[in-house]
């Protein structure tokens, strides 16, 4: 069992979601986050004061998958989230030791 974490551009969410669905991914959890990285931020001005906003809105996806699925999931995300411009984001993979579906108590692949 692994957790694939992806930080992507918000407007790519729909594409990524659709392609993951096609791949058979049945669920994921999404967080609105802010990213700091090579993609520069911007400046905002309020009543004469300049504010530096070096954080860019991103969407973070968290997907628990069977080990076998990891390469496909990672590839799918990488492809469908890509615009080729700086700030497209990252994907990383973390080991998960156990997964339980709260409703039924099922564990492992059955819980996905």
């Amino acid at each position: 069992m692994k957790v694939v974490i992806a930080v992507i551009k918000p407007f790519k969410l729909d594409d990524v979601k659709e392609s993951l669905k096609s791949l058979g991914v049945q669920g994921l959890t999404l967080t609105e986050v802010q990213g700091f990285g090579r993609q520069g931020g911007h400046t905002e001005t309020y009543r004469g004061a300049e504010y530096t906003i070096d954080l860019v809105p991103k969407v973070r996806l968290e997907i628990v998958v069977d080990d076998a699925m990891v390469p496909d999931v990672v590839d799918t995300i990488t492809t469908s989230a890509r615009t080729g411009k700086i700030g497209d984001g990252k994907v990383w993979v973390i080991p998960a030791e156990e997964i339980i579906r709260i409703r039924t108590g099922e564990r492992g692949s059955d819980a996905l």
């Binding site: 802010q34 911007h42 905002e44 001005t45 309020y46 504010y51 530096t52 906003i53 954080l55």
Partner: protein, 473 residues
């Protein structure tokens, strides 16, 4: 002895007229600004509000320096006075400023109309300001069609140009004693001059300027419905000044217009809620549906408010709301509606509703809804011989045709000139009509360096511990 004002001034009428104008002003700011600001996608809220505030200001500048007189001053006789060219004699007025003391303080007068009613009881400044708030709200209404992509610079040029070349003509033709006024066209408070005009202009401008980004069309959820409610409430009640102010006196007809306005709005709102509940795809009443219905009712009664009785007002609300509901449900699928990105649907809620209201006025105008009475002032008999306008149902057979032709004039002139003005801005002045795609993607942040709800984590880096001292602390 001192006197506060000359004897032609009636304090009660001037009071009402200034109050009514202020209510109409509130419909724009904050009314439209936050209605639209709350309705657009969050990334466009600031841009929308700036467009509204700056547009309001821009109209006033041209209004006082030349445009007021083009709508309400002495007509330029361009036609030669016979045949169809007649229309050119009552088309537009001499441009001229209204900023001198006499032009503010003297007794108000609309040259072409002075024989048709009693003298005004207030000074020019009142009339000029009252008419300004109507001129100012019109571009703010059609802003609803073009927001989310129109360039702010182009907006700031288009609005004054449009006020000069389009609005002033609409006003002169119908209100300033111009051609259609002399033919007896009825437009109590701007069903045509304002709402039909806004619908038409918004629609053709959206076409010329092009649509919002695909991404914004696919996802344009409103920012905050509480702000929509603030705007909508101010607009409903502000309309008491819109329609109640147009008799130019705190008269019985003003009161009736005000009541009728609310009646039509109430039936239209409830009709739309019923449509949502019983015809709509989700079969659920919706808040934004109720606001759409409200606006349709307010617009539809505008050309009619003091001309029709309460029963007609109630019927107009039901009919207009039903028709516009169906139009907005089905027309977006057919051309030209399917080809134009009218962001907030101004062509439906203002254009069609204004058109419908004007035509229905031609049927329903009730001659017992006297506007001014001729005769001896104190005679008890006076008010039993009213001189109000009569529609088809009251025996005036060509009224509907006149209403229809007036609408056609407005539609044609406004559409053509609006397109022309935009093309001049684009190709002659070389000001881009729309933001670049990159700017469109980012919205407010890109074009104004502002966000409607800035992140709390924003950091102002130029302030350091030592910059501001501790005062006397």
């Amino acid at each position: 002895m001192y006197y506060p004002y000359p004897n032609w001034l009636v304090a009660g009428d001037n009071s009402w007229q200034m109050t009514a104008a202020t209510f109409v002003g509130l419909m724009s700011l904050p009314g439209i600004a936050v209605l639209y600001g709350g309705l657009v996608k969050k990334k466009w809220a600031v841009n929308t509000m700036l467009m509204a505030f700056a547009g309001f200001a821009a109209v006033l500048v041209v209004w006082i320096f030349w445009a007021y007189n083009m709508g309400f001053g002495t007509p330029l006789h361009l036609g030669g006075g016979s045949g169809i060219a007649n229309i050119l004699d009552g088309f537009i007025g001499h441009p001229g400023s209204i900023t001198g003391p006499g032009q503010e303080l003297n007794q108000a007068n609309i040259v072409n109309l002075s024989a048709a009613g009693p003298p005004f009881h207030f000074p020019y400044a009142t009339l000029e300001y009252f008419q300004f708030v109507f001129a100012a709200i019109t571009p703010l209404l059609f802003l609803g069609s073009v927001l989310g992509r129109m360039n702010f610079k182009a907006w700031l040029v288009f609005v004054p140009a449009w006020t000069t070349c389009v609005y002033a003509v609409n006003a002169m033709l119908i209100w300033g004693g111009g051609y259609w006024a002399t033919k007896g066209a009825l437009d109590f408070s701007g069903g045509y001059v304002i709402h039909l005009a806004a619908g038409v202009t918004g629609f053709v401008s959206a076409w010329v300027i092009g649509p919002r980004l695909l991404r914004d069309r696919q996802s344009f959820p409103p920012t905050n419905l509480l702000l929509v409610a603030v705007g909508a409430g101010v607009i409903w009640l502000g309309w008491n000044g819109f329609n109640g102010g147009d008799p130019y006196y705190a008269s019985a007809d003003a009161s009736a217009a005000l009541l009728n306005t609310n009646i039509c709005t109430a039936t239209a709102l409830l009709t739309w809620v019923a449509c949502d509940s019983f015809i709509g795809s989700a079969k659920k009443p919706t808040f934004l549906g109720s606001i759409n219905g409200m606006i349709v009712g307010l617009v539809a009664i505008t050309p009619a408010a003091g001309f029709v009785n309460g029963n007609a007002a109630a019927a107009m609300g039901v009919i207009a709301s039903l028709v516009v509901f169906l139009a907005w449900t089905y027309l977006p699928r057919v051309r030209p509606f399917s080809r134009v990105d009218d962001a907030l649907g101004v062509v439906y809620t203002h254009g069609m509703a204004g058109f419908l209201g004007g035509i229905m006025t031609g049927f329903l105008a009730d001659p017992s809804m006297v506007e001014y009475a001729a005769g001896k002032k104190n005679a008890a008999a006076l008010w039993s011989s009213p001189n109000g306008a009569a529609g088809l149902f009251y025996g005036n057979s060509d009224r509907v045709l006149i209403q229809f032709l007036t609408a056609c004039t407005i539609i044609a002139w406004d559409a053509v000139i609006s397109v022309l003005l935009l093309l001049i801005i684009k190709y002659v002045l070389r000001i881009p009509l729309r933001y670049s795609d990159h700017e469109l993607e980012e919205g407010d942040v890109a074009v104004h360096d502002e966000e409607v709800e800035p992140p709390v984590l924003a950091i102002r880096s130029d302030i350091t511990q030592t910059l501001v001292p501790e005062g006397m602390r």
